[in-house]
C-alpha cells in the first residue's frame, strides 16, 4: 500500500499523511457503531430494547444524535480548575489511544508504520493515557476526580506488568517484535495461530493478556477509576460536551486497540482461519476487523454481567494472580523451546 501511495502521490509527506489518517477512517465509524452496539448489547442482555426511535429503524441514528448534542453543549471549565491541563487532558488521552494504531497491521498490505519494535512501541505509547488521566483528575480540582485518577494510575501501571509478560511469551516463540512478521508466521489454517502453539502456555498467556487488557481500558470488572456508584464518574466528573466525548472516544478506541493486539498476536491477525480460503489483502481487513470486533463484544458482555472489584482486590489480582501465572507461562514456553 505504501508503494502504491508513493506512485500516486510521489511525495513522502503526502504518503505518510494518508497512512496516518487511514486508521481514523476506521475509528470514527467504528466508534459510532460500537457505541450503538454497546447500547443494544446491554439492552438485550438486560431484557430491554435499547434505543428504538431515533432515525426510524431500531434507533440506528442514536449515536449520531448524541454526538450532535455533545457538539452543541457548553464547554464548562470549573472556575477552580487548572485551565490548561483541564483542556489538554482529553486530547492527550485520545492521542495516547490513537498512536497505538500506527503499528497495528490491518491487512497484509497495510500497516501504518512497519517498525521492527511494534509491540514494544504499543506498550510504551499506551502508557501516555496514564498521564492524561492524572492530568484530568488533578486539574479538575475535585476530590472524586483525584481519587479516580490516583486509582487509575495505580491500576494501569500494575496491569502493564502482566500484559507485558503475557506478550513476552508470544515474542519468545515468534522471535520478533514486528507485528507484521508475527502475522506472517501464523499464515495457514487456524491451528497455526499462536494461541494453539505450546499448548497450554500461550493459551494461558492469552487469558492473562485479556484480563489485564480489561483493566488497562478501565472496563468492568476493573472499571474502578470511573466506578459510577463510588466515584460519581471518576476523573471525567468535571468534563462536559466535546471533552467528555473525547474521553469516551478514547475509551472505545482503546477497547478496539487491545482487541486488535489480541487478535494479531494470538489469533492470526489478518489471516483467514481456513488457509487460502478468502485470504488476500482485502479479505485480510475483513478477518482482522471481525476478530477485533469479537473481542470488543466479549468486553461488552463482561461489562454487563460482572460486578466490580474493590481497589485492593484489583491489586491482588494483578500482583498475586496474574503476574505469577504470566511468569509460569514464560518459564513453560522457555523450557519447551529448550527441550
Amino acid at each position: 500500500m505504501e508503494q502504491l501511495l508513493r506512485n500516486i502521490l510521489d511525495h513522502d509527506i503526502f504518503v505518510y499523511g494518508v497512512m496516518a489518517i487511514v486508521p481514523l477512517v476506521w475509528i470514527i465509524p467504528y466508534a459510532l457503531v460500537v457505541i450503538y452496539l454497546e447500547r443494544k448489547v446491554s439492552a438485550h442482555m438486560q431484557d430491554r430494547l435499547g434505543p428504538m426511535r431515533t432515525g426510524g429503524w431500531h434507533g440506528w441514528a442514536q449515536t449520531i444524535a448524541d454526538m450532535l448534542k455533545l457538539l452543541q453543549k457548553e464547554d464548562i471549565i470549573p472556575s477552580a480548575a487548572d485551565r490548561k491541563l483541564h483542556t489538554l487532558a482529553p486530547y492527550l488521552m485520545f492521542i495516547g489511544a490513537y498512536t497505538v494504531y500506527a503499528v497495528i497491521p490491518f491487512s497484509s498490505s497495510y500497516v501504518g508504520s512497519n517498525i521492527n519494535i511494534g509491540l514494544f512501541y504499543i506498550i510504551a505509547v499506551s502508557s501516555i493515557t496514564v498521564v492524561a488521566i492524572l492530568m484530568a483528575g488533578w486539574s479538575s480540582n475535585n476530590k472524586w476526580s483525584l481519587f479516580g485518577a490516583m486509582r487509575s494510575v495505580a491500576q494501569i501501571v500494575s496491569y502493564e506488568i502482566p500484559t507485558v509478560l503475557a506478550i513476552l511469551a508470544v515474542v519468545m516463540i515468534a522471535g520478533t517484535l514486528n507485528l507484521q512478521e508475527i502475522n506472517q508466521m501464523q499464515t495457514g489454517w487456524f491451528w497455526n495461530w499462536f494461541i494453539f502453539k505450546k499448548f497450554p502456555f500461550i493459551f494461558v498467556a492469552f487469558v492473562i493478556y485479556f484480563v489485564a487488557s480489561l483493566a488497562e481500558t478501565n472496563r468492568t470488572p476493573f472499571d474502578i477509576p470511573e466506578a459510577e456508584s463510588e466515584l460519581v464518574a471518576g476523573y471525567i466528573t468535571e468534563y462536559s460536551g466535546m471533552k467528555f466525548a473525547m474521553f469516551m472516544l478514547a475509551e472505545f478506541v482503546n477497547m478496539f486497540a487491545v482487541s486488535a493486539i489480541a487478535a494479531t498476536i494470538f489469533f492470526g491477525g489478518w489471516n483467514s482461519p481456513f488457509g487460502g480460503f478468502l485470504s488476500g489483502p482485502i479479505w485480510g481487513v475483513f478477518w482482522f476487523l471481525t476478530k477485533g470486533m469479537f473481542f470488543v463484544f466479549i468486553q461488552m458482555w463482561l461489562r454487563w454481567t460482572l460486578p466490580r472489584l474493590r481497589v485492593d482486590q484489583l491489586m491482588y489480582v494483578s500482583w498475586k494472580v496474574l503476574t505469577p501465572w504470566a511468569f509460569a507461562c514464560i518459564i513453560g514456553v522457555g523450557l519447551w523451546m529448550m527441550l
Binding site: S42, M45, Q46, D47, R48, K143, W144, F147, T220, P221, D223, I224, A227, E228, S229, E230, V232, W304, T305, L306, P307, R308, L309, R310, V311, D312, Q313
Partner: protein, 386 residues
C-alpha cells in the same frame, strides 16, 4: 470547620512526611446514597476513618401534617409517602394503630387481602433493595431483571386500586376497593412465575464470586451491637438474631400461615456481614411468596368496606402499634384528644435506626465498602426524614 489531625509518616526512603486526613463529602447528590443521604467521610487515602451521616434533605413534616388533617383517613396518603418503596406496609401499620384506638374488628376478607398486599409489597421492596445493591457493587444487569419482576407486582396493585407506587389502599376499617375479578388467578400465576426467578437472581448475583468478595466480611454488624442500636428487620436478622414481628408480636392473621423468618448464617464470611443482610432479603422473598400463596388459597368471600366508620372520633387516649415493614419495625404512636383529627402521630422509622449504625460498622473500611455497607442497610430517605 474543625482542624484535621495531621500525622508524621515515614516513607520507604526513611524521610518523614506530614500526611493529612481528608474530608470527603458523599452526597446528597451521589449515585449510590439511595436518595439524598449525605455522608461526611473522613478518609486517610482510601481508608475511611469516620463516617458522619447527615439527614434531613427529604424532611416533609409528615408528623405535623398529620396533626393538621381534618380526618384520620386523610393521613393515609402521607403515610404512603414515608417509605415509598413499601407503601402498603406503611398503610398497614397506621391503619392497625387507628383501628386499635377505635376498637374496630375488620372483616376476615379484609385481613386476608391486607396480608396478601403487604407480602407482595415486601417482595417488591426487597427486589428494589437487592437490585440497587447490585448497582452499588457495579452489576447493572440484575437490577433490570429484578425490576422486570417487580413490574408484575405493580401490575397486580394497579389492577386492584389503580395506583402503582402510592396506593392509599388500606383504609381504617377496610379497603378502598375489593379485589378485581381475576386478581386471585393472576396473583397465583405470579407466585408460580416468581419462584424460579429467585434461583436466577442467585445465579446472577448472590453467588457471583466477585459479588461475594465485595460483600462477605464487609461491614460486620455483631448481634449485640445490632440489638444495642435497636436495629430491626433484615438488618437485625442478618446479624443472626431470629426476631420477626410477624411471628414474635403477631398482628393481623400472620399466625395462620406457615413460614420461617430468615436469619444470616455467615455462610460466606462472618455473621452479620453485607452478604448476610442481602441474602436475608432474597430468602425472605421466597417466604413471602409462601404466605401469599397460602392466603390466596384460604381467602374467604365477604365485604371489604362494611366496617369503615362514617365518622372517626376516637376516645381520648394513645396507642402504639408496631408492624414488620420491608425494612424493619415500623411503629405508629397515635394520640387522640377526642376530636376528629389526630392530636399527635409519631412514626418510628426502621431506616432511621438502621442508618445510625453506619459509623459503627464502617470505620476502617475502604470508600468502596461504604457504598456496599450503605446499600446493605437498605435505607429509604423518605422514611428516615419523614
Amino acid at each position: 470547620m474543625t482542624e484535621l489531625p495531621t500525622t508524621q509518616t515515614k516513607t520507604s526512603t526513611g524521610r518523614s512526611v506530614r500526611t493529612e486526613e481528608m474530608v470527603l463529602n458523599m452526597g446528597p447528590q451521589h449515585p449510590s446514597t439511595h436518595g439524598v443521604l449525605r455522608l461526611e467521610l473522613v478518609v486517610d487515602g482510601e481508608i475511611v476513618i469516620d463516617v458522619i451521616p447527615h439527614i434531613g434533605y427529604l424532611h416533609r413534616c409528615f408528623e405535623k401534617h398529620a396533626e393538621k388533617m381534618t380526618n384520620y383517613q386523610q393521613v393515609i396518603p402521607y403515610v404512603d409517602r414515608m417509605d415509598y418503596c413499601a407503601a402498603m406496609n406503611m398503610d398497614f401499620g397506621y391503619v392497625l394503630a387507628v383501628e386499635k384506638l377505635l376498637g374496630i374488628k375488620v372483616p376476615e376478607r379484609v385481613e386476608y387481602i391486607r396480608v396478601i398486599m403487604a407480602e407482595l409489597q415486601r417482595i417488591a421492596s426487597h427486589l428494589i433493595a437487592a437490585g440497587t445493591y447490585g448497582l452499588d457493587i457495579g452489576a447493572f444487569t440484575p437490577f433490570l431483571y429484578m425490576f422486570r419482576d417487580r413490574e408484575r407486582i405493580l401490575d397486580l396493585f394497579e389492577m386492584t386500586c389503580g395506583a402503582r407506587l402510592l396506593y392509599n389502599y388500606m383504609w381504617i376499617g377496610g379497603l378502598s376497593h375489593d379485589l378485581s375479578p381475576g386478581f386471585i388467578d393472576k396473583a397465583k400465576d405470579f407466585c408460580k412465575y416468581f419462584r424460579p426467578k429467585i434461583k436466577e437472581y442467585n445465579d446472577l448475583l448472590s453467588y457471583n464470586e466477585i459479588f461475594i468478595k465485595r460483600t462477605a466480611n464487609v461491614g460486620v454488624l455483631p448481634a449485640d451491637v445490632a440489638i444495642a442500636y435497636a436495629c430491626s428487620g433484615p438488618v437485625l436478622r442478618g446479624s443472626g438474631v431470629n426476631f420477626d414481628l410477624r411471628r414474635d408480636d403477631p398482628y393481623s392473621i400472620y399466625h395462620r400461615f406457615e413460614w420461617e423468618p430468615q436469619v444470616g448464617m455467615g455462610e460466606m464470611g462472618k455473621v452479620g456481614d453485607c452478604w448476610d443482610r442481602y441474602m436475608v432479603r432474597i430468602r425472605e422473598m421466597e417466604q413471602s411468596t409462601n404466605i401469599v400463596e397460602q392466603a390466596l388459597n384460604q381467602i374467604p368471600d365477604g365485604e371489604v368496606t362494611s366496617a369503615i366508620p362514617k365518622r372517626i372520633r376516637p376516645n381520648p387516649g394513645d396507642v402504639y402499634v408496631r408492624t414488620e415493614s420491608a425494612r424493619g419495625e415500623i411503629g405508629f404512636y397515635v394520640v387522640s384528644d377526642g376530636s376528629g383529627s389526630p392530636y399527635r402521630v409519631k412514626g418510628r422509622s426502621p431506616c432511621f435506626v438502621n442508618l445510625s449504625v453506619i459509623p459503627e460498622i464502617s470505620r476502617g473500611h475502604m470508600i468502596a465498602d461504604i457504598v456496599a455497607i450503605a446499600g446493605s442497610l437498605d435505607i429509604v430517605l423518605g422514611e428516615v426524614d419523614r
